[in-house]
Symmetry: C2
Subunit: 73 residues, 2 copies
Amino acid sequence: MDHRIPDASDLGHLIRDARKAQGLTQDELAGMTGTGRRFISELENGKETSQLGKVLLVLGALGIALYALSKWK
Amino acid sequence: MDHRIPDASDLGHLIRDARKAQGLTQDELAGMTGTGRRFISELENGKETSQLGKVLLVLGALGIALYALSKWK
DNA sequence: AACAAATGTTCCCCATCGGTAACAAAACAG
DNA sequence: CTGTTTTGTTACCGATGGGGAACATTTGTT
């Protein structure tokens, strides 16, 4: 299924749902992505200042692909 | 058109292309999003540590919608 | 080639990210 | 209800994001 991501909290919810659907704890996801449990917790709660690269790492680890829809290219 | 965004540099290229297609300078885009020209420059060049919220602001200003494609929900 | 505009890059510097660890509060299982 | 697991939150702290401004470099125009 695909979800529009207008802001950080939408992404957070999506990540939380995907993680739970795969039976992972925040700790495990943090370990898989070389981040910390705190980062995952804050990300899932919609923190605006999470760093892009780490966010993409987490998405990748969860098998979530990101798409940009633009009229320009 | 839609583009897969596997990492920060892909997003950077996409943003640059969209900005140019709309005839905007980095300075103008920075102004529209309340960021700085330096932020835009680094973002377009694929900086991994750009902050999520500001990135989403820039995408919004350019009329680019983000979608997450997951098998889990 | 010459001038202008746009972008890249550096410096100064304050604010804050995020790792680890510890504790509190929730959510669950039996 | 009780013990356990998971998650939220805080403190500590080294590292760095990013704003503004100045300068260097590239790109574009004529």
